[in-house]
């Protein structure tokens, strides 16, 4: 009995963590290239809305995922354009993005579905149990009997670990974020790399958003993400911009959420806010403890201007 509870708790943790981890991996790529986008919320919302819309119209899950990716990448590229081409303040640009997409997605949603009384819904993706792996006691069910998005997430973590630390592309990405001028001198096209990194951020953030509508909820509503994009930023910092670290951070945050839901169903008297607050408190504490170690990419948030010293 205890094991069943533990196993379902772990499974819930993974489901809570997956969208956050996907978006956070995207933001990690972007930040490593020196572009800090606090508009992850907008990217996720866009991915969530467009994948829902495509699923509702076509009923084809591949089309829906593709639409979510396009939606996320579109949002991210607006930010990239403002930060790279216009050299705007990246924080303000991210904030503007959040407002724009919060408005846009709920406007489009109400425009299409506002007149119906029933909440439009789509069928959610079913979990696929991996043979053998899902039979591992306790963690097998939780980790390997999930929906395909979760497997994509595992794959992304592994791919990014290799990409960041074992390939020349990883070195180029780091160089652009740490020392853009040196990278430029070495013949690397700084802006091209940054645009690509931003696109990757949009793709992964869009996937994270699509997860919410296609897997978790099956419907869309105004401000569906409700701050998940900001939590993704938390995961990036807690995970020290290391793909595995980011995944673990997202799992920790996810477990706080899963615990909160579990306690609510048990009728606990502790307000649920006490648990939702935890990841933020932990982030501030971790930031304080890791002070002075200088983990941020040196050129994070700074525009690169070729013609200036």
């Amino acid at each position: 009995m205890e094991l069943v509870v533990l196993s379902s708790f772990l499974a819930a943790t993974v489901r809570m963590a997956a969208p956050i981890a996907l978006a956070a991996l995207g933001e990690t790529i972007s930040e490593k290239a020196g572009v800090s986008n606090i508009g992850v919320e907008a990217i996720m919302l866009s991915g969530a809305y467009f994948s829902f819309w495509a699923m509702f119209q076509s009923g084809n899950v591949y089309v829906a995922v593709f639409a979510g990716i396009l939606g996320g990448a579109g949002a991210s590229l607006i930010h990239a354009f403002l930060s790279l081409r216009c050299k705007a303040d990246q924080t303000i640009a991210g904030l503007a993005l959040n407002f724009l997409f919060l408005g846009l997605t709920s406007f489009l949603f109400l425009m299409q579905f506002g007149k119906t009384t029933t909440l439009p819904s789509i069928t959610v993706l079913k979990p696929v149990a991996l043979p053998l792996l899902s039979n591992i006691p306790i963690i097998g069910e939780a980790l390997f009997a999930q929906d395909p998005f979760v497997y994509v997430l595992y794959l992304m973590v592994i791919l990014l670990m290799v990409f960041f630390y074992k390939t020349e592309w990883g070195v180029i990405l780091h160089a652009v974020g740490e020392a853009p001028r040196a990278a430029d001198t070495a013949g690397i096209k700084v802006h091209a790399v940054r645009y690509l990194a931003c696109t990757a951020n949009g793709v992964l953030g869009g996937l994270g958003g699509a997860y919410l509508t296609l897997v978790k909820l099956g419907f869309f509503q105004e401000n569906l993400t409700g701050g998940k994009g900001y939590i993704a930023l938390v995961a990036v910092i807690l995970g020290r911009r290391n793909p595995l670290g980011v995944l673990i951070a997202a799992l920790v945050i996810g477990s706080a959420e899963a615990l909160q839901i579990r306690l609510q169903t048990l009728g606990s008297t502790i307000p649920s806010q006490a648990f939702s607050m935890l990841p933020y408190v932990v982030t501030v504490l971790v930031l304080m403890l890791s002070m002075g170690k200088g983990h941020d990419p040196a050129a994070l948030g700074l525009p690169y201007e070729r013609d200036k010293r």
């Binding site: 403002l82 503007a96 109400l110 002070m291 941020d296």
Partner: protein, 336 residues
């Protein structure tokens, strides 16, 4: 100069076209929708007062944000600081309900300023002393503050006679003066205008303000010429958060008279847009907050009478900021 005028003209045209397009997309009639928009912000005394009521917290919080921005302290945490101010006046009213009104007013303002200020001081200190990014820290503290309100209205500040999570009605001594009776206008607006004047004097007429602006313009040059950069960042974060704290006090004392969840529909984030539109200048902020408030109140009226979703306001705000950020580069403006 020509390009500047051209760029603003293009911006206005784009915004009008996009709004017309959005209105047409939901199948509403453009003239009727616009008429209801303007009726919503200027059609009656009540409508005009509603705009002022909404502009009040925006003005206070944006003034705070602008002080931070001028010093290079990117305060995204006005939302949390506002909630801290709201918590402080609720605590004060519940703990000392029998204080005389004048004393209560002074205490609630001082306490609200301090609690908002101290909330902003955390990221301020972390930035000044350890070089930690204030952006992430202020966002984190927003969420902590919002959850804190959620916890408090369910536990120590809860009204035991109600099943809902909210504080009891605060004593009348905490209430701000009502200005124009049938409307909801309250003295918070006067507080905001006084603060605007004070911020102007502080930033442009005192040595402290000069040093703060200098730090914002070029921290390294200040360091080299013997201005203690970290000191001014800390002071600026304190003032910045304090003003947002006052916004929270004003919302409770003027409007809600009790602490509930969600008293701020993103005022703290909107304040950043207001501050940007007002070019971090107190006079500009007064007008920008009126503009953003009018946009929101008008769009609510438009939703009621023509069925255009209020999210149109959010789209337009996002679009305006994006165009402002890209304007100089797209039109090759050479102005400073």
């Amino acid at each position: 100069m020509k390009r500047t005028i051209l760029s603003f003209a293009v911006m206005i045209i784009v915004i009008l076209l996009v709004s017309f397009l959005l209105i047409a997309m939901v199948g509403s009639d453009i003239p009727t929708s616009l008429a209801s928009f303007f009726r919503g912000i200027g059609g009656s005394t009540y409508a005009m007062a509603e705009v002022l009521v909404r502009a009040t917290p925006l003005m206070l919080a944006a003034l705070g944000v602008s002080v931070g921005f001028r010093t290079g302290f990117l305060n995204i945490g006005a939302e949390g600081q506002l909630y801290l101010g709201a918590i402080s006046i609720t605590w004060l009213g519940m703990t000392f309900p029998s204080l005389p009104a004048p004393l209560m007013l002074v205490l609630s303002l001082v306490l609200g300023f301090l609690s908002g200020g101290l909330w902003a001081l955390i990221p301020g200190l972390l930035k000044a002393k350890f070089g930690l990014s204030e952006v992430i820290n202020t966002i984190m503290l927003n969420y902590i503050a919002i959850n804190l309100v959620g916890i408090l209205v369910r536990t120590s500040l809860k009204d035991p006679t109600y099943p809902y999570p909210m504080s009891p009605m605060l004593p009348a001594s905490t209430n701000f003066l009502h200005l124009l009776s049938p409307t909801r206008l309250h003295a918070g607006l006067l507080l905001a205008l006084v603060c605007a004047a004070l911020v102007y004097l502080l930033m442009f007429r005192t040595t402290l303000g000069f040093c703060m602006r200098a730090v914002g313009l070029n921290a390294r040059a200040c360091q080299c010429s013997g201005i203690a950069v970290s000191k001014y960042v800390i002071i600026s974060s304190l003032i910045s958060g304090g003003l947002s704290g006052l916004a929270g006090v004003s919302e409770i004392a003027g409007l809600h008279h009790r602490l509930i969840e969600g008293i701020s529909p993103s005022y703290g984030y909107l304040a950043i847009i207001v501050s940007l539109l007002g070019r971090n200048n107190p006079v500009g902020i007064v007008f920008a907050s009126l503009g953003i408030a009018a946009l929101q109140v008008g769009s609510m009226s438009m939703q009621r009478s023509s069925g255009v979703p209020t999210s149109i306001a959010s789209i337009i705000m996002g679009l305006v900021v994006i165009m402002i950020l890209s304007r100089k580069s797209l039109f090759r403006c050479k102005e400073a």
